[in-house]
């Protein structure tokens, strides 16, 4: 069925293509002569994302098998791809709403087109099953974010942040690409398939083989380069300056889009080792990076009075928690974990989304508020909000409680499942590693307690303190709607976390054994499977 | 012998040397004599070492070496002749006599020029970057002279002493990347100009070099696009196959893609820094631009390189658009006899020389562009038209009409029409900002 494969490859990319096409349209709209066209930019962006969501959800009714389990040209549309695409699009709606009024009128088109390209890149990271596609998708995520930081608001500060972000990001990308080249050398191909897993696992098992060092260095460089995307410790230095320099909504975006892309890419690289994360070099690297990220992030965040910087440093700490989940992995005692409590990857995916929403909500509120005409940034700026704008104050408190991991908030479920999966992994790990994993969980719990200190400061400032000169919200509705939606989603996931957790579980399905290679012979089987799955789309 | 030490410039009495070099008979006689000597030498070589010569000509390696030698020699002579012709045509257009002292009608003027270059001092200014200063003309010269490697001068040859069906090709190298080689080598030439501007440490040179770089890389983009048009219709990168296609069908590509031909010609002019695109060396503003500080043979190498660039560019355009060695009633692809190859070779060079004459006439008829007009022409004129042509040709190829003359002409007309329509809509197509200058208020000065 020659043309069928082609048809699948194009139709399954329809949501991404819609985003890219709308991005191009919006880019050209910047240069329109009439102001009304330029003012329509955010609306068109939003409708593009909504259209992509509709196609993803109801495309099978039109015969477009977007979420089908199809395989073509280095893309595999499995559960992980479904999770990434759904979460990217839903968070995309929130991000567009939050940054509705963000950049200056002349640059709005560029800003929103970059946002769309970045989201399209994120949606491609999910299905990519090939080193080259993965790298390109990651760069499609990153490069627009550098531009967005620069465009997000006037003045020299965002330019400075964007320059820093760009240079460090380029360096990290180079490290990743270097690591990928080693992996390519070991596996003899760019595909991330079962054959590649076999070769890497063989190479890692045999310390005498020449491929052993290549594979170790390749994995190390790839993961370290990707740590930049999630802002974990050795490559975390940029984050506070970038968050502070960028406008608040962009900082909110940076807390989700690159982070999810980096986490998924790390999943894909580590799954090459058959999730041998509880022993050997990989264990120690993840362990050290996780501990350092949590501790350094939290300690630095404690000292901040600027909320944007504080949230930036806390983002490092959250990356540390996520690394604990990655270390736990989806395997318990050689078998697939039975619930999310043992499935570290599913827990991490859940956690990234929750963190992304809460972070975006907090930044949305900061972006919404103005103090004496300048954006709201410090603890003093947000003081006493409860009395004047109770809804904003409560939303801020909700976001902070979620980030803190307070019990019924979804942040608590996320942390619980991550730590639970780490404990489950410890149970079946070799004796030496067992103790170290337990130690890691204890450090993580202590860190969560430490983090409560600075989140509570914000909550106290908002709810308890008084201020003569409270911040004023902007009169535009869209950012407020975005912030309300963030709060609404947090409440939904607090009391009804099942669907998101199930999505996460589906996503980690294929991570045990990476998806098969492109095989023309198996096309009919794929199509059969695709028609089966057509009836139950991924969300 | 004239007394050189006590030379009086006002002394008009012709010396014996003057008389000799201005006598048509003497020069024609010397030329005929040289020709006869050359012929005798060739015949003698043929008689004495016939087998070796036949083996040489019969193998691709030997033939390539012979072609290298012949082509470089021909290029030098054509350059010398075209310099004379350029000055003569300029003189004709400007209603003056032109060079008329070196021999009758100035025929040994180019040789005298060359000798003078060689005898001048090899000089590098103290503040220049010495290695780069010397390297720059070398790059310009080498890049201009190696481009012809892929030009299919005369198709295939079957020598009488070769086995049946065996042929050698009259091309230095038949590369599978063909046209890409010329683009790469042509792009290399930019380095010579930029390095010259940088190494001279002279402001005129520096600005000239910067302008040259901007100009050459700007015109490389539309050139690349136009080449895509030809390749798309031909389906190959090999110039010999493109020529063969034209010869076999008898339809030169210029009839299929007239617009692409015009665009490529414009780009070739700009790439060679020739008028109307010679503001790189604009005398009035830049005193010669990037070669202000150059003298003697190093300057001559830029000069030779420019003309070699023109010849190679013309040869490329002839191969791509004007049928290469093909003329309808003359030998075609299947005629591989040696005299047919000679005719093809001659035809090819006649076409090149006609093109050079075209270059010269253009140089002395058109004024120079201003820099913004130049860049505007490339980026807002040629590139959009090139993009349109690629799309139009792509559609034609998809429909299978790539060698259908009316369809191609209609497509070209559509692209041209759209471009002209858009150009007519924009406020001032070429005149630039002069239209929008504010009126200057003339105030009587205080003293008067």
């Amino acid at each position: 069925m020659p043309s069928a494969a082609f048809a699948i490859s194009i139709t399954s990319l329809v949501p991404e293509l819609i985003l890219a096409a709308v991005g191009c349209v919006v880019l050209l709209m910047t240069q329109a002569k009439s102001g009304s066209v330029r003012r329509a930019v955010p609306g068109i962006t939003l409708s593009g994302i909504v259209l992509a969501i509709l196609i993803l959800r109801f495309g099978h009714l039109l015969g477009i098998s977007v979420g089908a389990d199809s395989i073509n040209g280095g893309l595999v549309f499995d559960g992980l791809a479904g999770f990434v695409r759904v979460s990217a699009l839903i968070l995309g709606v929130l991000i567009v709403l939050v940054s509705w009024v963000q950049p200056a009128d002349e640059e709005r088109g560029e800003f929103f087109s970059m946002m769309l390209f970045s989201l399209a890149g994120l949606m491609l990271v999910g299905p990519s099953a090939d080193l080259i596609v993965l790298f390109l998708a990651l760069e499609l995520v990153s490069i627009p974010t550098y531009i967005m930081v620069a465009l997000s608001r006037p003045g020299p500060r965002p330019l400075e942040s964007a320059t820093k972000y760009f240079y460090l990001g380029a360096m990290a990308a180079a490290i990743t690409a270097f690591g990928f080249s080693y992996l390519y050398g070991v596996t003899g191909g760019a595909a991330l398939d079962a054959g590649a897993v076999d070769r890497i696992v063989d190479a890692l098992r045999d310390p005498d083989s020449p491929a052993h060092n290549l594979a170790t260095i390749g994995l190390l460089l790839s993961v370290v380069g990707l740590l930049f995307k999630i802002a974990a410790v050795p490559l975390h230095f940029y984050i506070a300056d970038v968050y502070q320099g960028a406008a608040s909504p962009v900082a909110g975006l940076l807390g989700f889009v690159p982070k999810l892309a980096g986490i998924v890419a790390i999943f894909k690289i580590i799954s090459l080792t058959g999730w041998a994360t509880t022993e050997g070099a990989l264990f120690w690297i993840l362990w050290i990076v996780a501990v350092l990220s949590m501790t350094i992030g939290n300690v630095l965040a404690l000292r901040q009075t600027n909320i944007k910087r504080m949230l930036a440093y806390s983002g490092i700490a959250h990356s540390g928690y996520m690394l604990v989940g990655i270390l736990a992995g989806p395997i318990v005692a050689g078998e697939r974990a039975e619930s999310i409590m043992g499935d570290g990857t599913a827990a991490v995916l859940y956690y990234v989304v929750i963190y992304g929403i809460a972070n975006l909500g907090a930044f949305a509120l900061l972006g919404l508020l103005r103090v004496r005409g300048r954006p709201c940034e410090t603890l003093r700026d947000v003081a006493g909000l409860l009395r004047y704008y109770p809804s904003i104050a409560l939303l801020m408190a909700l976001s902070m409680f979620t980030l803190m991991g307070m019990p019924p908030t979804p942040g608590f479920w996320g942390k619980l499942s991550i730590f639970g999966s780490a404990l489950a992994a410890a149970e079946f790990a070799p004796a030496l590693y067992h103790d170290w994993i337990i130690a890691l969980v204890i450090i993580a719990v202590l860190n969560s307690a430490l983090a409560a200190a600075y989140y509570l400061r914000v909550i106290a400032a908002v709810l308890l303190f008084e201020s003569d000169e409270p911040a004023e919200p902007t009169p535009r509705e869209a950012p407020m709607i975005g912030a309300l939606l963030c709060g609404f989603l947090l409440l939904v996931f607090a009391f009804y976390p099942k669907p998101l957790m199930r999505l996460g579980r589906d996503a980690s399905d294929r991570l045990l054994v990476p998806p098969p290679t492109v095989q023309v012979e198996s096309t009919s089987a794929i199509v059969a499977e695709a028609t089966l799955l057509d009836e139950s789309p991924p969300f | 012998m004239p007394d050189i030490m006590n030379f009086d410039p006002n002394d008009k009495t012709p010396t014996i040397v003057d008389r000799l070099i201005r006598a048509p008979g003497v020069i024609i006689g010397v030329a005929v004599l040289l020709g006869v000597v050359l012929a005798v030498v060739l015949v003698a070589v043929w008689m004495l070492w016939g087998d070796a010569v036949r083996a040489l000509l019969g193998s691709q390696l030997g033939l390539s070496i012979v072609i290298i030698a012949v082509t470089i020699g021909l290029m030098f002579s054509v350059i010398a002749t075209s310099i004379l012709f350029e000055r003569k045509i300029a003189a004709f257009i400007q209603d003056r006599k032109g060079p008329n002292r070196g021999g009758f009608w100035g025929v040994i003027q180019p040789m005298a020029d060359g000798l003078k270059f060689l005898l001048k001092e090899e000089f590098t200014p103290a503040r220049a970057d010495r290695p780069l200063f010397i390297l720059a003309p070398c790059i310009a010269f080498i890049a201009a002279f190696i481009g012809f490697a892929i030009i299919p001068w005369a198709g295939e040859i079957h020598w009488p002493w070769m086995a049946e069906g065996e042929t050698v090709t009259t091309q230095v190298a038949s590369l599978d990347m063909g046209i890409l080689y010329i683009i790469a080598v042509g792009g290399f030439g930019v380095y010579g100009v930029v390095l010259a501007g940088w190494a001279s440490n002279n402001k005129y040179s520096f600005f000239g070099g910067m302008r040259a770089a901007a100009q050459m890389i700007s015109y490389e983009v539309p050139m690349g696009l136009v080449l895509v048009v030809v390749l798309l219709a031909a389906g190959t990168l090999r110039p010999e196959l493109i020529v063969n296609q034209q010869a076999e069908t008898g339809i030169w590509n210029v009839f299929l893609h007239p617009l692409a031909f015009v665009l490529l010609t414009i780009c070739a002019f700009a790439e060679a820094n020739r008028t109307p695109f010679d503001l790189v060396e604009a005398e009035q503003e830049l005193v010669g631009g990037f070669h202000t500080e150059y003298s003697s043979m190093k300057f001559a190498m830029f000069f030779l390189g420019e003309y070699a660039h023109i010849i190679t560019g013309s040869a490329l355009i002839v191969a791509l658009f004007l049928g290469g060695w093909h003329v309808w009633f003359l030998p075609n692809v299947d005629d591989t006899v040696w005299w047919a190859a000679l005719i093809k070779f001659a035809v090819y060079w006649v076409k090149i020389i006609l093109f050079i004459v075209f270059y010269i006439v253009i140089r002395w008829t058109l004024p120079r562009f201003r820099f913004d007009q130049l860049m505007k022409l490339a980026w807002k004129g040629l590139i959009p038209m090139g993009l349109g042509l690629v799309v139009a040709t792509g559609v034609l190829v998809a429909l299978g009409w790539q060698r259908n003359v009316p369809a191609n002409l209609i497509a070209n007309a559509i692209v041209l029409g759209i471009s002209l329509w858009y150009a007519s809509r924009s406020p001032s197509p070429v005149t630039g900002r002069q239209d929008n200058l504010p009126e200057i208020e003339v105030r009587p000065s205080a003293t008067t």
């Binding site: 880019l27 | 200014p125 440490n201 983009v221 798309l232 792509g394």
Partner: protein, 140 residues
């Protein structure tokens, strides 16, 4: 005669031209006179005493042209393989026909090539229009 790659002929040509260059430079170096002096070595600025160094900052537009060139030339180079192979897809006989049908059997039909290059070309054109409207191509 052993089989020789055609690229070696190019190497011969390059060596020959380099040889000519070296001989020319050497000849003029040996033949010409050599005189020196402070005035002769000074920079030519139309007879006025030179001021400052020539290697100074220059207009940023030159960088812009270089960046534009990089983008466009690379994009156009991407068109070359397509331009050369696309007409062969429609071949009706010979090795090209076999090759085209093999490709089609693996899902790479002519339609695939048209859609693929269409997307690529659309992006190229949109970038071009964007730059035009943004005023990148204004030098006056």
């Amino acid at each position: 005669m052993p089989e020789v790659s055609d690229y070696s002929f190019v190497v011969i040509l390059i060596l020959a031209v380099m040889g000519i260059t070296a001989v020319i430079l050497l000849l003029t170096y040996l033949i010409g006179p050599k005189r020196t002096g402070a005035i002769k070595h000074s920079v030519y600025e139309s007879g006025v005493d030179p001021t400052g160094d020539a290697r100074r900052r220059f207009n940023v537009r030159f960088y812009l042209v270089a960046v534009l060139f990089l983008i466009f030339d690379v994009e156009i180079i991407f068109l070359y393989p397509w331009a050369v192979l696309f007409p062969r897809l429609k071949a009706t006989e010979g090795a090209d026909q076999q090759w085209a049908s093999d490709l089609a059997a693996n899902g790479f039909t002519p339609a695939f090539f048209i859609v693929g290059i269409g997307i690529f070309f659309a992006l190229l054109t949109i970038g071009f229009i964007y730059e035009w409207r943004k005023g990148v191509f204004r030098w006056d």
